[in-house]
């Protein structure tokens, strides 16, 4: 059967892009009995938080850098103990059919640990794995992931 190249009908499978979202801060609340109160207070003050993770010692979440001062003000008012690590970024590996692909996280760790990049936090969705790294490490992280997933020369969004 002969056929001419036609429209691509489906998303490509596998990793097809590395995305970077910077200008973020990692907030760590170490008041385990106050995390929900703090979240409510942040919502009441119109401060969007995302990538919330629960830990034995409290919780971590991400805010955009512009909200750091207000997060600390709200936390003080609760009161809760919250520390901020500024200047962090998400480096995300984006793939089609992620839940059908095993081993993406292992390859990410291979690449980033091998490149000496410290992974501060991880998260995953059906189409991406997100790694929080310091902004100073972003270019190293992107290069390592591009190399690992053979996206050198492109694939960064």
């Amino acid at each position: 059967m002969e056929h001419s190249p036609g429209t691509s009908f489906e998303k490509e499978r596998g990793v097809h892009a590395i995305q970077v979202r910077d200008d973020l801060a990692l907030a760590t609340c170490t008041s385990p009995d106050k995390w929900l109160i703090l979240l409510k207070a942040l919502a009441d003050n119109g401060i969007p938080v995302f990538h919330l993770k629960l830990h034995d010692s409290g919780m971590t979440f991400i805010v955009r850098s512009e909200y750091v001062d207000r997060v600390l003000e709200v936390s003080d008012a609760v009161p809760a103990v919250t520390t901020i690590e500024p200047n962090v970024a998400f480096v995300s590996v984006v793939a089609g059919a992620m839940r059908d692909l095993s081993g993406i996280i292992a390859r990410i760790f291979d690449a980033l640990v091998g490149a000496g990049v410290q992974i501060l936090q991880t998260g995953d969705a059906h189409d991406a794995v997100h790694c929080l790294v310091r902004e100073a490490s972003v270019s190293t992280a992107v290069s390592a992931l591009q190399h690992e997933f053979e996206l050198v020369g492109g694939g960064v969004a």
């Binding site: 009908f9 489906e10 409510k40 009441d44 996280i105 292992a106 760790f109 969705a125 059906h126």
Partner: protein, 461 residues
Amino acid sequence: MRVMVQKFGGTSVATDEARALAADRVAQAVEAGWNVVVVVSAIGRKGAPYATDTLLGLLNGVDPQVSPAPRESDLLLACGEVISTVIFAQTLRARGYETIALTGGQAGIVTDYEFTNARILEIQPAYLLQQLDAGRIVFVAGFQGATERGAITTLGRGGSDTTASALGAAVKPHVEHVEVEIYTDVDGVKTADPRIVKDARTLSVASYAEVSEMAHQGAKVVHPRAAEIAEIHDVPLWVKSTFEEAPGTLIRRASTAEDSSPRITGVTSTGKLVYLRFPLPDVSDTDRAKIEREVYRLLRNEEISIHLSSTGNGAFAFAVAREHLGRVSELIDGLVIPGELGPRTHPPYGVITLLGIGSTGRGMNAQRTLLAGASSLVDIRVVEADMVENCTMVSVIATGIDDIPGIFVTMLGVLDEQGVWLYQTADSAYSLSVLIREADSVRAVRTLHEAFSLGTAGVCG
């Protein structure tokens, strides 16, 4: 030419009565002036003589120790759809309509060579369009295609939805208008599983992204692959009931103000999961990352997928499907990982991390005994993972999450008030998810559905 692609699932063609109702839907479309393409799944579900699982069981039953070749599996599995397609075509032929039944390959669906989970490379619709133009109803066997060399392939899970969506996309450039209808046993996309939430509403309109996210998070209406294809090619997709007269749900690109405004769309639950948390309170970030890497490498070798991964704050954690627990335990319980083995002049010469699952892991205790003799030379760091066996993930699906104030805290707050213990959370552009005990799943879904007023006027559309 105006083309309607209608897809009927296995339950819609399982009995004479169901087939008659499905045939009514086809006839109605023809009488309304549509040129109709019908995509059919295999008849019935597991146990039915020609259902996909039945055919697979037949093949695997030859010798359970020898896996069938994927190519031959596909050749057999494709038969289920071929049988139902021909029978359904005959049903309409018996009503006096001109019909033709085609395999996926005959309909022009060209796939790659990944047998059992093939990807559509392109569709050559010329023959199908020619048959439509001749006034025939074209029946196409779902779930299948063919390689360039004509080997029959199957499209994997949700394959018939994918076929319908892809055929709609293929004919779109050649016709005046095309729509795709997915017929099932519910009357559209619901705000929750109606078996769990009695007042679950049917959405009149949803975006491709919303439906795709709902499907990924456990809703069983349209396969996400079909929604993704429809979105790429901007093909309107309807979800309707074979058995009820109801308008159904229109899935389309979020282009209107109503479609794209922030809203909460539904609540889903999915997965039988096991949550494993490895406390590493006194471990450097570098060592923690190395330990994680070793664990993930082992899971990769076994093709075990990881969900809800989390790291930092003196621990790392993830969930795996419960069916993998036995193998995960074998791999991790007793795993020894060397660390910090740099040159030193006196003991301890390094640190060895010994992983276990719980304090009673046999592998860990056996290794601990073996390593006891080395404890004067190296530090033995024992890490006992906490394990929660019966977990599931409950998700709230929403558009414009960043613009819905307090959605996350509302979700967590009402679950907390209900005494639902939260093990972990996750968020994406279209969903917020919590990992909870499976025993709390029904209560959590009902609580969230009510909290976000999804059963009343809380949902647009």
